[in-house]
Point group: C2
Chain length 273, copies 2
């Protein structure tokens, strides 16, 4: 399994540097030699969309994705339609920011009816496909770890995401593979093979033992137990050659000066991804 020797495929997901504005993140990437960034909508909104787009373009950074669409579940029809509209705005924002990939976190069920919530996610994605095509932006469905089923995503395994995307049968929808969310799955390598041709993103971080926090407990690559290189090699083997985003929700890392965090992240990426 060949390690990388350069940072050409590395992307900073802004969730890793929560305290930085988009401007600080863009300048930090430039200083660290990181060629790409995944932009969060709230960070772009702070600066305004046109200024954000110009900032990233002028810095020569690629935009690996925009985070995030999804969050489809709601108790009323009006609210469900409002969620769809928000996703349409997210598609347009992604296009404006210069990426063809919108990460989609599908959201929780608004009640105990998991089946119903999952059916609505599929319908919502189907309804958004024409908008995705119009914007030239693909919906990258990210299955989350099952521990987020109740509050973040009813899509909880790569197999489930593959089934969903197969049924939708469109070039405008695919999957995001995040090592943190899928590493536990005995079927993950099988499902990565099945996802050939529709992997739209690959995210890395690590699973710490013990996990300090459900949401903010992700680790830097190498500090945990995930077989990161094996997963990366599997994703590459079926033809994925896009950016690899480092997305780490971790309070201690957020409290570290951004330049230090980026230097560590680049080093660990070369060592462990």
């Amino acid at each position: 399994m060949t390690p990388f020797t350069d940072l050409r495929r590395l992307s900073l997901n802004q969730a890793t540097t929560q305290r930085w504005s988009l401007r600080e993140a863009v300048e930090g990437c430039a200083r660290a030699g990181i060629p790409a960034i995944s932009i969060w909508r709230d960070k772009a909104a702070e600066l305004g969309l046109p200024a954000s787009a110009r900032l990233v373009r002028d810095a020569g950074l690629s935009v690996s994705s925009v985070c995030r669409g999804g969050w489809f579940g709601a108790t009323t029809e009006a609210e469900r339609l409002a969620r769809l509209d928000d996703n349409r705005r997210a598609l347009d924002e992604a296009a404006a920011l210069g990426t063809d990939t919108l990460v989609v976190v599908c959201g929780p069920a608004p009640n105990r009816d998991l089946d119903g919530a999952r059916a609505w996610v599929e319908e919502a994605l189907a309804r958004l496909l024409p908008d995705a095509e119009a914007a030239g932006v693909r919906l990258a469905v990210e299955p989350l770890h099952p521990m987020f089923t109740a509050d973040r995503s009813v899509i909880v395994s790569l197999g489930q995401a593959n089934d969903l995307v197969e049924r939708l049968a469109s070039p405008w929808v695919g999957v995001t593979v995040d090592a943190y969310h899928v590493w536990w799955d005995p079927r993950v390598y099988h499902e990565i093979e099945r996802a050939a041709g529709r992997i739209l993103g690959f995210h890395v971080s690590d699973w710490l033992v013990p996990t300090p926090d459900i949401l903010l407990g992700r680790g830097m690559m190498g500090d945990g137990v995930i077989e990161l290189r094996r997963l990366r090699v599997a994703v590459d083997a079926i033809g994925y050659d896009g950016f690899i985003e480092v997305e780490i929700f971790n309070q201690a890392l957020w409290d570290t000066p951004g330049d230090e965090a980026l230097a560590l992240m680049a080093r660990r990426y070369l060592e462990h991804v």
Copy 2:
């Protein structure tokens, strides 16, 4: 989906009343009209095995299971063999306590090699089958929630447990279905059907939103989002008619007086299971 109208199938898993000794738990069950108990080995050891067995028998309580065997992974061959020996002792203890079911939590990988750890679990179970038969006690493999992959169990879904048990092909190994560990799985109802004839236990609690703690954050039935009755009806529909254990690791519940906890548990069982 018909609710229960009596407590005939209810069992107190001792993990729910962590502060109670076995004697206190047995007396508490008698006061609350709960006909069965799942005994933890450390609790039986406090009192001694013969006295524990006599206590439960004299109270007329059924023993739905003993917790627990498993924890197979280790870095050295000597330690792996020691773990097998411990499981043999657990089988004998279960028999002495008057149950034919040993709950098995398979343990984490001792390193990053998940595949290797999973292969060893299968081999370990195969090696224990003659001992299980000799003791007259079945190994009830309990898949844990994937959030415990790194520190408690490399067996993380009912599908994986079914695959494992199918390959072992013995009446001395089956599965424990714990609602808390499997509710998130889009395939859970399919896998419950597949488990027909080899479900050796059914555990209930609830998934709280937000989850207060990874290990000690389970909720009382009805306080969370799990479709408990639907799961119970599915398990019954394929022929399971054994005890239903309430197993709740929750600090707040542990801090509640035991009789109150049991009264609440019995009421919620009738309402939600």
